[in-house]
């Protein structure tokens, strides 16, 4: 705070400085304590657990295992499959969300009657409990009485087993995620478009750039930070999502929708093999840390003063 020029007496200043230090501590310490206990400590603890044979069902104490849980992961076909399914899910879902969201942001970017209301309404999916999203799409994708099938049949198709056939099951979950998150992506791009300064466009027009030139040489480069930010946020959130799989397929058929979080969860709390689950968690945390660092970099470069 720019306060010292106001104070001329030295002992006063000393007292203020002490008070300031104390206030900083009082303000920040509680939140910090909570985060240390429930974020930093669990990470360290997860590493510790992952170095043990730690079976929840057994009465014997956990036994030190060194790196053997990780070694086992390396040769685990199911783990490899889970990583692959997760990558497919993230790639497809986030890919569609970004493409649709980007296009729709331009559609909604206009000061015409009613557009603001429509934009507000599109926000609803991103706030709905993911389990309810899973429940309702599970119902709609049903082979025997689901609305999606009914529409498909109306269009001249035959009934489709959306959730019980491998590739289709994954695509159905992707579609559900796209329904929930495209509006959010759209709103981020919309806000970014709104923040673009008009004078840049005036300059571009004065320089005689055509419409498509303006898009590729002005708009797109200026939107790059927003694209990166939304890409990272969505990728991390898609990586950890397991509600849709829980509700709609339980990882089936035959592991075709067994995403990494689902495999981790079942290993830990159905097979009760906590050591092995913790090893997966540590690898996942490493990946998330890389992604979150990318995000932090993006943000840091935009924060002039902190």
């Amino acid at each position: 705070m720019r306060i010292f020029p106001l104070v001329e007496v030295k002992p006063e200043a000393m007292k203020l400085a002490t008070e300031r230090r104390r206030a900083t501590l009082v303000l920040i310490a509680p939140a910090l304590a909570v985060l240390l206990a429930l974020n930093l400590f669990p990470i360290v603890y997860a590493v510790y657990i992952s170095a043990h044979y730690w079976l929840l069902a057994r009465p014997q104490p956990p036994r030190f295992a060194g790196l053997s849980n990780y070694q086992e992961l390396f040769f685990d076909e199911r783990f490899r499959n889970a990583v692959l399914v997760s990558l497919k899910f993230i790639g497809l879902a986030v890919g569609f969300e970004l493409v649709f969201g980007f296009g729709l942001a331009f559609v909604f970017n206009a000061q015409v009657r009613g557009m603001a209301t429509l934009r507000k309404v599109t926000l609803l999916p991103s706030l709905v409990m993911p389990l309810v999203v899973g429940l309702v799409w599970f119902y709609m994708f049903n082979e025997n009485f689901g609305i999606v099938n009914w529409i498909w049949v109306m269009l001249g198709g035959t009934r489709v087993p959306f959730l019980t056939q491998g590739t289709l099951a994954l695509l159905s979950i992707v579609a559900t995620d796209v329904w929930q998150w495209t509006p959010f992506v759209m709103l981020v791009f919309f806000a970014a478009l709104q923040a673009l300064p008009e004078y840049v466009y005036e300059a571009a027009r004065i320089d005689g750039l055509s419409g498509s030139q303006i898009f590729f040489r002005v708009t797109l480069p200026l939107l790059r930070p927003a694209i990166l930010i939304v890409l990272i946020i969505r990728a991390v959130d898609a990586l950890r999502s397991l509600e849709l799989v829980f509700m709609m397929t339980k990882g089936g058929p035959a592991g075709d929708t067994e995403v990494l979080p689902w495999y981790l969860y079942t290993t830990g709390f159905m097979s009760l093999d906590l050591g092995y689950a913790a090893a997966m968690a540590v690898l996942m945390l490493a990946l998330v840390t890389v992604l979150s660092q990318l995000f932090v970099r993006q943000l840091e470069s935009r924060e002039a003063i902190l």
Binding site: M115, M129, F145, V188
Partner: protein
């Protein structure tokens, strides 16, 4: 006048980026309206399925005209094989309410500290807190389960309350830090000259000034706590179980009790719908941690 100032004034006068050239007129409305319809349709399905009788739920083709009944709501809340949703609803309200309160209080304090005081390592600390937002619950669930078990708090409200508080702290701190930083510093300097202590300034001067920010942050935290599934399902069984735990039980109903579960789903979604319109202004800012304003 500096360019920044002109920009600021221009933005205030509504002279921001002009409307996109594409698409135009009717096509724009057509796309926007059908997308909105697509966003809303599943809500229609949730509510109508909850209001249908069992025959109508399993009808092919889907029953568009049906006689609505509230039987499913009654079943889900009061009968339903001794598994009433009422206690789950109460737990959800208590846990998301208390955890939101704690997250906002602790978060606002820290946010003010970050916005107004300088100390060594502040930048790193702030960005570390930001990075906790990315913590995937599924990667934390194993150590957290063992920690909660060791302190004997399995199936207790307090465990979920503390975990959700931690989960929402980064969000609260980062949004409110921006709000506090926007307060003109002269106001607080004047209070300091009037003899307020730093903490009094925080509580009596700064907090009232950022009330709109606090309200939207609180709503957002409440939504996240309300919706959280993984911690709830692993750490609670009955006494402290929340609505998502109830909904997770659908798979045990052999896919028959659609109506009852959609009724609980309606109850789980309704409060969110009510808040959303109030929230819209700050939501994108909140969900992207102020990266996009």
């Amino acid at each position: 006048m500096s360019i920044a100032l002109i920009r600021k004034k221009g933005l205030k006068a509504g002279l921001s980026h002009p409307a996109s050239a594409w698409p135009t007129g009717a096509l724009r409305y057509l796309i926007a309206a059908s997308f909105t319809g697509f966003c809303l349709f599943p809500f229609y399905v949730i509510v109508t399925t909850a209001l249908k009788t069992e025959t109508a739920i399993f009808a092919w083709p889907p029953a568009w005209n049906f006689k609505p009944t509230l039987q499913t709501f009654y079943n889900a809340l009061f009968v339903f094989g001794g598994r009433s949703a009422v206690s789950y609803l109460i737990n959800s309200v208590i846990i998301s309410g208390v955890s939101t309160f704690l997250a906002v209080v602790l978060g606002a304090m820290a946010a003010y500290g970050f916005a107004r005081f300088f100390f060594a390592g502040k930048r790193h600390l702030a960005f570390w807190i930001l990075s906790t937002r990315f913590a995937p619950p599924v990667a934390f669930i194993v150590p957290i389960y063992l920690m909660v078990q060791k302190v004997g708090l399995l199936d207790s409200h307090i465990a979920l309350i503390i975990i959700y508080t931690a989960m929402n702290l980064s969000l609260v701190i980062w949004i409110l830090r921006g709000f506090f930083a926007e307060i003109p510093i002269e106001i607080e300097e004047a209070a300091l000259v009037d003899g307020y202590s730093r903490l009094q300034i925080f509580w009596r001067v700064a907090v009232p000034l950022v009330r709109p920010g606090i309200v939207s942050t609180a709503i957002l935290s409440a939504v996240f706590s309300w919706n959280e599934f993984l911690y709830a399902t692993v750490l609670t069984q009955s006494r402290a179980a929340t609505l998502p735990v109830y909904l997770a039980g659908f798979s045990n109903s052999m896919g028959l009790a659609w109506g009852e579960y959609m009724a609980v789903g309606t109850i789980a979604v309704l409060p969110i719908l009510c808040f959303t319109f109030a929230l819209q202004k700050h939501l994108v800012r909140g969900l992207t941690f102020g990266a996009v304003k």
